[in-house]
Structures are given as C-alpha cells and as structure tokens.
C-alpha cells in the first residue's frame, strides 16, 4: 500500500502510479469528430477483433444510430445528432459569402443556425487518468496496464457491478447471461505486438487517432486552433484537460458542440475524487460521535459515581 496513491488531480505517470516500473509511454485515442463520416467501421472492427456479441437488431430511430450507447456489448458507439433547421425556413437561402466554415451548419450557433447540421462521433471508453471503475473494483479484476490504459480481466471479475456505478460516463457494464464486466481494452492484445487498436486501423478518415497521449494532445490543440481559424467557434476538446474531474482522459475528443449534445456528461468527475475528503469528514463525525459517546458514558459514570457517593453518605 503506497502512500502516494492519489484519487484526483493531474497525474503525470498513471502507469508508475499503479506500480509499473519500466513501462512504455502512455497511449490513448484522439477522436476528431469533425472528420467522422459515420461509417461505423470502428464498431465492426472492434467487435470482430474482440469477439463482442451482436447486441440487438432493433431500429432505434436515433437518426442512423442503432447501437444506442456504450455497454458490455458495444465498445465503440457512433452517435448521430441531427440538428434541425429552424422551423419555417424550408430549403432556406444562405448567404455564404467567403467560406468561413468547413461544414454545413457549422459556426453559426443554435439560435442563428440556418442550415441543417449532422454531427457524428465515435464514442469509446475514456481510459481515465483517475478511473472510477478501477478505483472501486473490489477484486482487482480491473487494473491499469503498462500503457496507462484500463482493462478488466473477466476471469477475476465477480460481477458485483460496483464499477458500473463508478464510471462517470456510463461506459462499463455487465454482460447479460454472463454477469461479468466488459469494456474497451484499447486492444491491449494488439498493443503488445506494436499494433494500433482495431478501430483506429479501420477508421478511413483518421477520425480515430491512436498514439502517445502527449503527442495526441499536441495534435488536437493544433487541429482545434485550425477549426477556430475557420470560424467553427463551437469546436472544443473534451477530456483533454488534466485538471478536469477525472484528471484528463486517455481517450479524448474534439467536439463541435456541447458535450450534452453528444450524450456526454458535461463535467465528469471520478466518484472517488471526494473519497479522502468524505472519509475525513466521516472520520471527524465518527470521532465526534465517539467523543459524544465517551462523554455520555463518562457523564453517566460520573453521575452514577456521584449518585453512589450521595447514597453512601446517608
């Protein structure tokens, strides 16, 4: 038990913090949703490589999204968000002037948008710096790999489900009829052989980029600056900041709108962030109760002793 374990805040070396001594650079994903064409090759490649079962032949009606959300049997999920044109504008005219943006509907904001916009984004486990699932796992099934990723070992998992409520993004889940937790492994079995994850390999437009996390963050910063230059003021990075509630994500994103639009939590916080403070408060309360209890006992004992003494003097 090391005394250096921290549950929140920036953490430069997650793998070392987990006990790995000589380990490779931390890797992760940068998913640039501005170039996603919604082909879902990522979903298929992931399922093929990891033998993830098909999980539902249902038309969900969520635009072209029939996967719905991440889960035990969906480790990549492409979201489709149709942003309607305001009522009554029909096939409205648009003064495009100089091309100041790069996609229909971009750069104009919800209130002033006159053009239809279709957002597409491939979601995945965030492999958080401070991973809620990892922190609460009682069996050690979940562990931090030498690459800085978070992986669950099915042969150890007891299906307790704590990790499910521990994830601020709602990623990990238990497989039906099996009970054990499942989620993206960042293709741990490919990393060891120097290969990139299946989804990144399959993605035709390099929306999903794999590599060293520090390099990906630099690339993302450059890309964001470029989009801002083009007038896409709504573009932002999500999960890039080491100061956020999970210490930054190993898999982070470039979004073209608020996270909620994509079904992502706006301010994800690892539930264990407040654990030290909670335990301290709980400890203080316990101490206060204990004190109160001792005090009551002492008071009772003193009272009883006084009583006895009074009784004895008669």
């Amino acid at each position: 038990m090391t005394s250096r374990n921290r549950l929140s805040g920036p953490l430069d070396d997650v793998a070392a913090d987990a006990g790995h001594q000589h380990h490779p650079d931390r890797v992760g994903f940068f998913t640039d949703t501005s170039v996603c064409i919604g082909c879902k090759a990522c979903e298929v490649a992931c399922k093929e490589w990891n033998a993830v079962p098909e999980d539902g032949l249902d038309l969900l009606g969520m635009s072209f999204d029939n996967t719905g959300m991440l889960g035990a049997d969906s480790w990549r999920h492409v979201a489709f968000v149709e942003q309607a044109r305001p009522l009554g504008t029909g096939a409205g005219p648009e003064d495009l002037g100089m091309p100041s943006f790069a996609r229909p509907g971009d750069g104009t904001g919800a209130e002033t948008r006159t053009d239809f916009r279709w957002l597409m984004a491939s979601d995945v486990c965030k492999h958080c710096t401070h991973a809620g699932c990892l922190d609460v796992c009682p069996t050690g099934a979940l562990f931090r790999t030498e690459f800085g990723t978070v992986v669950v070992q099915q042969d150890i998992c007891n299906g307790c489900g704590y990790c499910v409520s521990g994830c601020p993004y709602g990623v990990i889940d238990r497989r039906q009829h099996d009970g054990r937790a499942q989620k993206c492994t960042l293709c741990y079995d490919r990393l060891g052989d120097g290969m990139e994850p299946a989804c990144a390999k399959a993605c035709p437009t390099e929306s999903i980029q794999f590599g060293r996390l520090d390099e990906l963050r630099e690339r993302a910063d450059t890309r964001l600056a470029r989009l801002h230059e083009l007038g896409l003021s709504e573009a932002r990075l999500y999960g890039r900041d080491p100061n956020d509630g999970v210490g930054g994500d190993g898999a982070f994103f470039l979004l073209l709108d608020e996270p909620e639009v994509y079904g992502l939590p706006p301010d994800p916080v690892v539930p264990t962030r407040d654990a030290p403070a909670m335990w301290r408060r709980a400890g203080a309360a316990a101490a206060a109760f204990a004190l109160a209890g001792v005090g009551a006992f002492v008071a009772a004992a003193i009272g009883s002793a006084i009583g006895s003494a009074i009784g004895a003097r008669r």
């Binding site: 082909c39 038309l59 029939n66 096939a91 648009e94 091309p99």
Partner: protein
C-alpha cells in the same frame, strides 16, 4: 453529384477528406442530406431527375459570362467545328432535335453531323427500331463514332459562326437560367449561384475542379446525357486531362469496373469492342463500320485488338483464312439486355439462367418481373456466398403469398453452387480508378466452394466433352476454343478438377507474341496478322516483362506522386487519361502548379509525372502528312486520342441516340411538367410497354396526384447491395436492422406518419412496408411554384437473412436509357401511406384499385412524344421483333 461518396465509398472518401484538410472545397448536390453532405463545405438540394437542368444552368452561366478556359476550348475541343445547316435544336422543335420519327420514337441523325463529313456507310445513323434495339451507340465501342473526312471539317476558330458548335451549345442552354434551375430543380438561386461561382473560380490555369458521379447519374432514362453534360462542363472549364480535374465515375462493386472491361454484357467484347451485328458478315465489314478506313487515333488499331482477342479465344483454330474465327462470335440481333431477357423468360423464349454473384430478385428493378421470369425457367444456376433470394424465390418470394407463384407448380429447377470468397481465390480486382490489383489466395475454400474461374473452366471443359462428336455448325466455336490454361497443382493438371492458374489467365489477357511466347508490353505491340494474342487490349501491359504488374505494392511514401508502382492502371499504367491536355499548344504545362506531362524538346519526347497518354514522340505542333492513319494521324494538339477527330466533344455529331447535346427531360415518372419544352421526357427512351410493366402517369397524362411524391432509393454504408453479403452478418445487420423510409416532417404531417411508425410506399407495381424515419435531411422543394416532396429508401432488404424486409426494387418499373439500356431506378413517383400494406390477394386487389384510380392501362407511359406539332396514331414503339440476319 449523383453520388453519396462518403456512404458508398467510405474508404476512397478518405482522400476527399485529405484534400479537404489541404484546403479543397467539397460541394455535395443531392436530393437528400447524407453523410457526404455532413462533411462537405456546402450541401445543395436538388429534385431527383433534374441534374441536366442544373448542369445546363452552370454551362449557361459559363458561356454567358465568358468563363470558359478559352485557349483550351479552342484548341482541344470541337467548339469551332461547323454543324450541318439542316440541324435543328430543341429550341426550334419544342424539345426535339431534327430528324425525329414518333412512330419509332427514334431519330434519323444525319442532320446532326458536322458539315462535310460522313460516318462510314451504315444504318446506324438513319435511326430505326433495330438501332434502338441494339443499343447502337455501343456498336461504336469505346472509340466513339467513326468519322470519314475529318480533314474536311469546316471550322471557325473565332467561335462566332452561328453554326459552330460553340454557338449551338450556347443557344441550346440559353434558357437554363438560375431562375429556371430554381423552377425545375427546386434549388434556391443563391445556392445555385454559389456552385457556379465556386466551380468557375476554381477552374483555370492554376486550379482544377473534379466532378464525381455514381449511379445517381447513370440510373436514369437520360443517364448517358447526364454524364455528357458533366463532361461538356468540364471541357469548357479545361478540367479534363489535368491533375485534380476530370469526370470521375465511382464504380460500385469491388470489381465492377473489371466486369465492364472484360464484360459479361451482351453487347460488348473485352476492351469495349462492340459485339458484332448480323449485318457484319466478315471482319472487314465490322472494321469498316467500327472505324473509318484511315481514322486517326488509337481506335484505328481496333483490328489488331480484335484479331488478338480472337487468337486468344480460338488459338490455332483462328487463321487468316477464316477471318480468325470472326464468324464464331455471337451476333446481336436485338435487345438482349437483362430486362428484355427477363421479359423473354416470362414470355417463354428463354429457359435457362446463370446467376453469378447477382441477385435480381432483390437487386434489379421491378422485382416481381424478375421473380416471375425466374419462375418460368427450366433451370436456374445460382453461384453465391449465401442462399440469396433469387435461389429461394420458389418458396419465399412475395408472389408465394399472393398466389402468383405456387411452389408445387413452379417448374424451375434451381442448382445452387457455393462460391469461394475473395480471400479463397487469387485474381485481380479492377477498381474505379481503372487500377488492377492482384490478390493472393489466403485460405483454401471449404467444402464445395469454388472460384468463378474454376467453375467456368470446368463448365467449358465438360460442355466441350459433351459436344465432342457434334457436327452441328453451331457447335464449331465451342470446338475451336483454346481451352488450354495452365492448371495449378503439383501434378500439373493430372487432377481433372484442378484450379486453373489465374496468373496464366492474366498473362493471356495482357497478351503474348505467339511465336516466342513472350509477354507484350502494351497494346501498341498487338498485330492484326495473327501473331499476337490478347484477351483484352486495354489491359495489355499488365503482364509486361513477364511481371505481374498488378501485384506491385510499393507504398506511396516510397515513390513519387501518382504512385505508378502500386498496381497497374489501364491503359499502359496511365493515371490521368487524356493528359496531353494538361499542357498547352507548345507542350508546356498550363501552370507549374498543375503540371503533369510536358514536351521535352531536347529528347524529342513527352515526359513528366504520369505516363503520357499520347504518342511519345509526336511534337506538340505536329501536323501529320496526308493519308496518315491511326496514331500517326494525330495532330500535336489532339489530346483525345480515341476520338475520330482527336477533340473533346462539346457536341456529339453521332454516337448517341437521344441527342448531340444533353437536354432537360423530365423522368419517365414525374409530378411536374417539363418547364422548358412541350417534350416531357426523353423522346427515345425505351419503356417496354406491357401489362406486367405498368407506368405511373406523368404529365400530360391525368391522375398524377395518385402518386404525388418523388421516389428515390440508394445505399447505406452498413449494407451491401441486395443484402446477400451483409444481412447474413450480425455485426452489419445490427447497425441497420430494418427497412425504413425517410420523409420530411412536412410530409409526415401531411400523411399522418409518425417517427418509427409503420408505413407502406406504393407505386403502380408494388407496395413495400417500411418503418418511418422523419428527418430534416429531406427538404420539400418548391418546383414550379408547387411544393414537391421526395421520399427515400435504402434498397438492401429481401426476405432471407438475419434481418429481412420488403424489396424496394419492387416499386420501380423497367424504363431505360436508349443508349445503354440502364434502368431509371433513381427516380419514380409514389405515395406513402400509414400502416402496413395489405398482404396476399388483398395486396393484388389494392394495386388493381390504385391503377384503376390512376387510370393506368398498358398504354400509360408509352405515348412518348409530347412535343408540340408531333402527332401519331399509335402508341410509340416500345419493343419489336429482332433484326433480320443478312
């Protein structure tokens, strides 16, 4: 345009995104907002079936404002050529060109020609039923129409003579204004103007614009003219033959380019040589019609190409004495296109059918027609990876439910042969870039699965065995076939069921000099004297130097631009066709930025980043001596080396059945009257008027309100064509599990449709159940003042597989482009109603009622000529008896 590239070609689309990242602007013009539109710089809505009006509008914008690349146009196109005085344009004849015969619904095209020229003596230009029945333009092959007297062409280099092509083109499109585009296409004028401005601003010496299309353009009754319109515009802007320019046809299936290059089409031989007609009694006659006696350009070598092909087919049996076996080739004596053939099955004159990786029960237009045809066969052979609907129609087609096919009485005997997949066999794919890429076999196929090569080789072997004792002259070609391919296997053919060597086949396709048995380097080495054999002249060179060039895989970062050492493109590994046009009259690139090939005066040859698509040593200013033929006859400024006049055609003096210039005609089924002319639709289209192929009414016919919406169908990324390769797989099926119809919120309100609710789409031919997808991606368009709704469905569903659904192609009828016989399956009319469709006999009864409500009879849709002043007494000719043999 006419393409949803991000969804249909997602892997190729990465290069569009790469170009975008480098500053290219992407404009997507489509009836619906798709995944391509989502990442484009601009999306422009258009009514399905009106692309010629749109393109004509851009052409008009270019011509009116002098925005054409004048030097290029003057030097490299036929803009200056004078057309005959008796030519009359659609502006003169209310939508018709001169020479129209309403009785045959075809043109006598002689008045369309250049002044002072003649095509070789033939029926092909006089217009007739045989002409339309044989898909006559393909009689000219890929070399375009033959032309005598090219040296006599009268020109006006100032481009001002009223009879010159440039002025004729200008006049033809003069009324295609932005206001007209708005009226016809429903495109807001501001968006249209943006397209015009972007396109022209980006097309000049320093910049080029690429035009990309797919089946959204080809599957129309005017499909050929759509592509002509795109080509004309790109020629005017100087975009052809230059890097970053061109007209790029995105082919669909993995090797469909290969399946037209080495075709399984009734009217083409390998390398786009035409199939002979009964009138071609000998090789000389065929050649004479195909190319003029001293035609300039590389099409002149067609005799070498054909003779070499015959030598490959018939080996030693092909000799000069028997015209190299020319008489053994089939003759096209009528319309033997796939739709006509299916009708012949229904009519009882075709009794056998091979289906190889083809599922017409789902994938061809008018599904019921397809299935009824198959139900009337003696035998049907299906080779596929999965048990497709075309193999099981006899027990699970919709006609079983309606009683139109009864399993116990269906006479068809179906033979199903399991096929090897692409990883279980070796061979080449030819993709949309004309690139051949060799694939190795990765695993052995299971059980009885075999490759097509194995199947046809052994079928041929067995057929030859069975006919070995026949003296019937009809069997002579089968005896004559050279069927001696190298076989794989250690015992070198001792196993009578061995696999033929695909590499040997490729080598023979590429061509050999027979004497020394040496692989040729390209088609210029082919001879017409029987000393060379070559299965497909455009592929000649893929095995040059005895190396499988298609197997080369040098990565792009290890070689210069154009990656000439990855795979092999036909012809001759040229990457950009007609690249002579990338240099000016002096042989210098139009700009440094857009250089591709240039004239190296010191060494007396063309050189550059690409393989020159021009005779290597012909100088830019060359004037050939009189009487020079073939490649020698090309002038230094003739980049279009396959054309008889060496120029790009802004006007097609012959070769096309429906006009020398594209004209906006409404689709066969349309809610709108043609706003430009009295002539409503393509006056030469084929409609196959028969009771089992009804048409929805279109103006000026009455009752168009019964099917008031524009219907179009296309693909989703998640599924593949008729679904045989995707609806069997759980990982794809779960991505798009159910057939749905996309409607706008306005249409949903009008028809009381709810999102994810049940609905059915109806035409005069069928009703199809679909879930409702209400989306803003479909926008009602204002067409000629009225609001027109468009609906869209993906066509991938059928009745077998993990996920099943009704067949969308059942909704479409068979109405085809007269030049190439491609069906109009990208636009029709329909209605959409809430709730599920009736089933069984009740379905037939409902369709009967609908047809009666719409006044539909077998005559509906067959009165093709509607232009003012054209009268006829009988419905326009729709199909006829075969041509007589001489």
């Amino acid at each position: 345009m006419g393409s949803n590239m991000a969804e249909a070609h997602p892997v190729g689309f990465q290069w569009v995104m790469e170009a975008k990242a480098r500053g290219a602007k992407v404009i997507h013009i489509d009836p619906r907002f798709t995944r391509t539109s989502a990442v484009a710089d601009a999306y422009v809505p258009i009514r399905a079936g009106t692309d010629i009006a749109f393109l004509g509008g851009v052409i008009n914008h270019v011509l009116r404002n002098d925005l054409d690349f004048r030097e290029y146009v003057r030097a490299y196109t036929n803009a200056s050529f004078l057309v005959r005085e008796d030519f009359a344009d659609t502006e003169d004849l209310d939508g018709l060109f001169s020479g129209y015969d309403p009785e045959t619904a075809s043109y006598d095209r002689s008045s369309w020609r250049y002044q002072n020229t003649e095509p070789p003596e033939s029926d092909a230009d006089r217009g007739s039923v045989p002409d339309k029945e044989s898909s006559a333009p393909l009689q000219h092959g890929s070399g375009g129409a033959a032309l005598e007297g090219v040296e006599n062409i009268v020109r006006d280099p100032s481009l001002e003579h009223p009879r010159c092509v440039f002025q004729i083109l200008k006049r033809h499109f003069a009324r295609y204004t932005p206001e007209l585009v708005e009226r016809v296409c429903g495109t807001p004028p501001e968006r249209f103007r943006e397209v015009c401005e972007a396109w022209t601003a980006n097309s000049n010496r320093d910049r080029t614009t690429a035009l990309v299309y797919s089946v959204g353009w080809t599957q129309h009754s005017v499909g050929t003219q759509y592509i002509r319109a795109g080509a004309i515009l790109q020629l005017l802007l100087g975009n052809i033959g230059r890097p970053g320019g061109g007209v790029f046809a995105l082919r669909g299936h993995a090797s469909i380019q290969g399946s037209t290059d080495i075709p399984t089409l009734f009217n083409l031989l390998p390398g786009y040589l035409p199939m002979p007609a009964p009138t071609h009694s000998d090789l000389a006659g065929y050649m004479h019609e195909l190319r003029a006696d001293c035609q300039k350009g590389y099409w002149f070598g067609a005799d070498a190409y054909l003779v070499s092909m015959l030598k490959e087919y018939f080996g030693d049996a092909a000799t000069p004495d028997n015209d190299y076996g020319f008489e053994w080739l089939p003759r096209i004596n009528g319309d033997h296109g796939t739709y006509r053939t299916v009708m012949d099955m229904i009519d009882g004159s075709v009794f056998g059918y091979f289906l190889l990786g083809q599922n017409p029960a789902v994938g061809s237009a008018h599904g019921k027609l397809q299935r009824l045809g198959m139900a009337n066969l003696d035998w049907l052979v299906v080779r596929d990876l999965a048990m497709i609907e075309s193999a099981t129609f006899w027990k699970d087609s919709p006609e079983i439910e309606t009683g139109e096919i009864v399993t116990e009485r269906c006479r068809t005997e179906v033979f199903f042969f399991p096929a090897a997949s692409h990883v279980e066999k070796e061979g080449t794919f030819t993709q949309t870039q004309r690139m051949l890429q060799w694939r190795e076999k990765a695993v052995e196929p299971n059980g009885d699965q075999r490759s097509e090569l194995w199947f046809f080789y052994h079928l041929g072997r067995l057929v030859r065995q069975k006919l070995a004792d026949s003296t019937d002259p009809r069997d002579a070609p089968v005896h004559a076939l050279a069927w001696d391919y190298r076989m794989l296997g250690a015992d070198n053919g001792a196993d009578e069921w061995a696999e033929p060597s695909a590499e040997d086949v490729l080598r023979r396709i590429s061509g050999v000099e027979l004497g020394p048995d040496r692989a040729v380097s390209g088609y210029t080495e082919l001879k017409a004297d029987g000393s060379t054999a070559c299965g497909c002249w455009i592929y000649s060179g893929v095995y040059a130097d005895e190396v499988n060039q298609a197997a080369r895989r040098k990565p792009h970062d290890q070689q210069p631009q154009y990656e000439k050492e990855w795979g092999w493109t036909w012809p001759m590994n040229r990457r950009v066709l007609y690249n002579r046009a990338s240099a000016d009259l002096e042989g210098r690139p139009w700009s440094e930025r857009k250089k591709l090939i240039w004239w190296d005066a010191e060494n007396g040859e063309w050189t550059g980043d690409d393989v020159p698509d021009f005779p290597k040593t012909t100088p830019p200013g060359h004037v050939p001596p009189e009487g020079a033929c073939g490649a020698d006859g090309l002038r230094g400024d003739d980049p279009f080396i396959m054309q008889a006049d060496g120029k790009g055609w802004l006007y097609a003096p012959h070769g096309l059945i429906d006009g020398p210039m594209p004209t906006h005609y409404e689709p066969h089924e349309s809610p709108a009257r043609n706003a430009l002319y009295g002539q409503q639709g393509n006056p030469t289209r084929k409609v196959y008027g028969r009771p089992d192929n009804p048409s929805n009414p279109a103006p000026p016919e009455a009752h168009t309100e019964v099917f008031p919406f524009v219907l179009t169908a296309a693909r989703l990324t998640e599924h593949h064509t008729a679904g045989g390769m995707s609806r069997q797989l759980p990982y794809l099926s779960e991505l798009q599990p159910e057939l749905f119809v996309e409607v706008s919120p306005e249409l949903a309100r009008e028809r009381r449709l709810t999102h994810l609710g049940q609905a059915h789409v109806v035409t005069s031919r069928a009703a199809v159940d679909a879930r409702v997808m209400v989306t803003d991606r479909l926008v009602p368009l204002r067409v000629d003042g009225r609001l027109v709704h468009q609906v869209w469905l993906p066509y991938h569903w059928g009745h077998s597989g993990l996920v099943t659904g009704d067949v969308v192609n059942d909704l479409f009828g068979v109405f085809v482009d007269p030049n190439v016989f491609i069906q109009e399956s990208k636009v029709a009319t329909c209605d959409v109603r809430p709730g599920s469709r009736p089933r069984g006999p009740a379905l037939l009864a409902m369709l009967e009622r609908l047809r009666s409500e719409a006044g539909i009879t077998p005559e509906t849709g067959t009165r093709i000529a509607t232009a003012g002043g054209v009268r006829h007494s009988a419905p326009a000719h729709t199909h006829d008896a075969p041509m007589e043999a001489p």
